[in-house]
């Protein structure tokens, strides 16, 4: 990773003057230097911070609109800066794209160097071994060739690559460290690619289905649907499903009293060929259909409401999902729109309380022990024909009249299951037939996920190799001294970042020395002394 430039080559030019080509080279060198990588990593960390402080549209769009309301001055500026979409903002992308380029610029040359290095023999012993930081020497009466042989065998046994030349052993091991490092950095790119594929070609969506109703996997059936930029219409696997039942267990005592657990949504589903299956969908246990995953992410209640219009006909009947305002007691808000009612269209808006306990605003519990609907009724024009899209969870009362009792007294539709009430002014009647549970499903397809996961696992393997393999070089030189002894010099070089060779070197020297002494002894016993 060269960060310094050689002196400018042209003689005619002033120092510091660069041709376009040189400028390009210089920029590339800068970009792919380790120092730049370091700075970019810091920038990446820093750039992520606002995403945790300022609400993000992708995470919680409601919180974003709330924040904008509370900070009218800052909101437009933040909007321009992309502060509400930090992780897809140009500046955040710029940092990681630069980092990725820098990474490629770093990997390629290093792979080349590594490739050459792996095939080369361990480097020859430096002239003066004792100058290296980790070195030792001893003398023995063994011949140099014997010492070198012992050293070679010992190093081979420790999986060193060994060559003997010019009276010295050169050994090297730990080649896999750099391989691991390269693998790690390539794998980081693979993970990025996996996520990019997922967000470009995948999709996700949410839908509420009430017990007994069906859903089939087409965009129009979703409550909210977010495709990737390049998602094609045909990307949706065709399947359909139905909620047969929803089981839940409420806690009546203990520290989490009032909360629920053991949610199970009993599903029947049909694959593309119409084959029927069943699945018990639970939290942490998504249903996989081909590459599409179905998750259970919420639940609530759908009061079954029947509305008869002013002419006495049934204009609306069925379960209507109400949205919980509160996860603790499931006080839920909902809207009923009856466009078919005649002579006037009818709208209902209000609360569903699963356990009514005298308080008309709050349910006592999430469990439906004593259900009640308490709603206001409107008559007039629902505004559905204007063409403007409307949320099913909001009533547009601009062209509607709040129904009141004769004399202007407040009128409310307060009903328990099985009860009916007539609407004032001959506008018909409302019946509360019963309650059905609903579940909210999140359905997502993210191609590239396996690629990202595979990349992450490779990255981890590469990382461990890179951090824990200790590449090192060892040299042993044996020379005959003037007094007929053999001088053995041993030196080593630890090339890893956390290396500490001295203990191992001491042990190695001790082993060599031990072998020599043992030979001395046996040689002495048999009365044969080499070279004498």
């Amino acid at each position: 990773m060269a960060t310094t430039n050689g002196p400018a080559q042209g003689n005619e030019r002033l120092p510091g003057e660069l041709t376009a080509r040189e400028l390009l080279r210089w920029s590339w060198r800068q970009l792919t230097s380790m120092r730049t990588a370091l700075v970019l990593l810091f920038l990446l960390a820093l750039a992520a911070v606002p995403g945790s402080v300022i609400p993000q549209t992708a995470v919680d769009s409601f919180a974003v609109s709330q924040w904008k309301k509370d900070h009218t001055q800052l909101a437009p500026i933040y909007e321009k800066l992309g502060m509400f979409e930090v992780f897809s903002s140009p500046w955040f992308s710029a940092i990681y794209i630069l980092l990725a380029i820098s990474l490629v610029g770093c990997i390629l040359p290093r792979t080349k160097v590594y490739w050459r290095g792996v095939r080369a023999a361990p480097p020859a012993a430096p002239r003066n071994l004792t100058r290296l930081p980790d070195s030792a020497s001893f003398t023995t009466s063994d011949a140099p060739a014997v010492v070198l042989d012992t050293a070679r065998a010992a190093l081979r046994g420790k999986r060193y690559r060994v060559v003997v030349s010019e009276g010295a052993v050169s050994a090297e091991r730990g080649y896999l460290r750099e391989a691991g490092n390269l693998l790690f950095h390539v794998a980081v790119l693979v993970v990025l690619a996996g996520f990019a594929i997922g967000s470009l070609w995948g999709y996700k969506g949410g839908v509420i289905i009430t017990q007994g109703t069906q859903f089939s996997n087409t965009p129009t059936q979703y409550d909210d649907f977010t495709p990737g930029k390049l998602t094609k219409a045909g990307a949706l696997d065709s399947f359909s499903l139905q909620l047969d039942r929803f089981d839940i267990e409420w806690l009546y005592s203990g520290p989490r009293k009032g909360m629920a657990h053991k949610f199970v949504a009993g599903l029947t589903w049909w694959d593309a060929d119409g084959k029927k299956n069943t699945y018990d969908l639970r939290v942490n246990h998504p249903l996989s259909i081909g590459g599409t995953d179905v998750f259970l992410i919420g639940h609530g209640y759908s009061p079954v409401i029947t509305v008869r219009d002013g002419e006495g006909n049934v204009a609306y009947s069925g379960p209507t999902p109400f949205l919980p305002q509160e996860q603790r007691n499931f006080t839920s808000y909902g809207v009923v729109k009856v466009p078919d009612a005649k002579p006037k269209q009818i709208g209902l808006e209000g609360l569903f309380l699963p356990t009514y306990n005298g308080d008309p605003l709050n349910s006592a519990m999430g469990n439906d022990l004593n259900p009640l609907i308490t709603m206001q009724a409107y008559a007039g024009d629902l505004g559905l024909d204007s063409g403007a899209p409307q949320s099913v969870y909001a009533l547009d009362t601009k062209h509607m009249k709040l129904l009141a009792k004769p004399g202007g007294k407040m009128f409310r539709v307060d009903l328990k299951p099985g009860e009916s009430i007539d609407l004032p002014g001959g506008n018909g009647s409302v019946t509360f037939d019963g309650v059905q549970p609903w579940v909210r499903l999140e359905i997502a397809k993210k191609p590239g996920t396996m690629l990202a996961l595979g990349g992450a696992i490779l990255a981890l393997l590469g990382l461990c190799a890179s951090l824990f393999i200790r590449p090192r070089r060892l040299w042993v030189r044996a020379t005959r001294t003037a007094d007929g002894e053999t001088l053995v010099e041993v030196a080593g070089l630890d090339r890893s970042a956390g290396g500490d060779l001295s203990d191992d070197l001491t042990a190695f020297v001790a082993a060599l020395q031990g072998a020599a002494t043992a030979r001395d002894k046996t040689a002495g016993a048999s009365g044969v002394q080499e070279d004498q």
Partner: protein, 288 residues
């Protein structure tokens, strides 16, 4: 034993561990006092005895600390791993800090580190009991998954080891600026800090970038959602990657790298404690 009895036992064990840690700290001080005035390299038999005693006491305290954790898990109904809230995370992370110190004590010659780890853990335990204590409760639905066990144990282990590593980095900074000559040489501390960080980094990578996303996928239907907790886990990861790079970059190795490591530790602890307090319900990861 009843759940109630286990609960009581756990609380008593935490207090007992605190007391024994304190005794270990006393033994370390005695060792230090006995060594005073000795030239480096000189042995003092008395210091030796106190040192062994301190090690033994740390081991005993660690055992009682572990008992507190196990009893906490057995006090819950149904029995579970003791990693459901911040009180339990802190209890476990501090245990991990002691455990790595004990496990590598001989191999990496950690005698000098003993009093610092013991002192830190004692303070953390006190803070945990005073500010973070929560009664035993069953896990929420999305927390009861085998991936919880895997993800959380990895995150806590990495947190414990990073903390010890950060401690060594602080000692390195002090030593290399000429203070505390009784500590091992600056290079030794630097190398030890690197080894501890290098040990924790893959564990953190696994916890945050592999096990976490898999679990989030199952529980919340997305691998990665840029939730505040996830953002800060990512920031921590990037800062520690920067530390590893800094050590290999001329002009950054040494003191600058150590400071980067400490920034990493600050982001880690901010995520651990701060996110829950400041962002509260804003994070899906708030367990309160």
């Amino acid at each position: 034993m009843s759940d109630q009895a286990w609960d009581t036992l756990s609380i008593q064990a935490v207090s007992a561990a605190g007391v024994v840690y304190f005794l270990a700290l006393m033994a370390y001080s005695a060792q230090w006092a006995a060594k005073r005035g000795l030239v480096a390299g000189d042995e003092s038999p008395r210091a030796e005895v106190f040192g062994r005693f301190a090690f033994l006491l740390t081991g005993v305290a660690g055992g009682v600390h572990l008992l507190a954790l196990v009893a906490r898990g057995l006090a819950a109904d149904p029995n579970r791993v003791p990693w459901g809230n911040m009180y339990e995370f802190t209890l476990t992370a501090s245990f991990v800090a002691v455990l790595v110190t004990l496990v590598f004590f001989r191999r990496w010659d950690l005698g000098f580190l003993g009093p610092w780890v013991v002192g830190l853990v004692m303070v953390v335990l006190m803070a945990d009991v005073i500010w973070l204590y929560e009664p035993v409760a069953p896990l929420t639905e999305s927390l009861s998954s085998p991936w919880l066990v895997i993800h959380v144990i990895a995150a806590i282990t990495a947190t414990g080891v990073f903390t010890v590593a950060g401690l060594v980095s602080i000692l390195y900074l002090l030593r290399s600026s000429g203070r505390m000559p009784s500590l091992p040489a600056a290079e030794v501390l630097d190398r030890l800090a690197y080894r501890l960080h290098a040990f924790a980094f893959p564990i953190w990578t696994f916890a945050v970038l592999i096990a976490g996303p898999i679990w989030a996928h199952q529980a919340w239907s997305r691998y990665w959602g840029w939730d505040p907790k996830e953002i800060w886990a990512f920031i921590t990861w990037v800062v520690y990657a920067a530390y590893l790079h800094a050590r290999a970059t001329a002009g950054w190795k040494g003191r600058a790298a150590a400071i980067v490591a400490l920034i990493g530790l600050a982001t880690l602890w901010f995520n651990f404690i701060g996110i829950n307090f400041f962002f509260g319900g804003g994070s899906q990861h708030s367990y309160a």
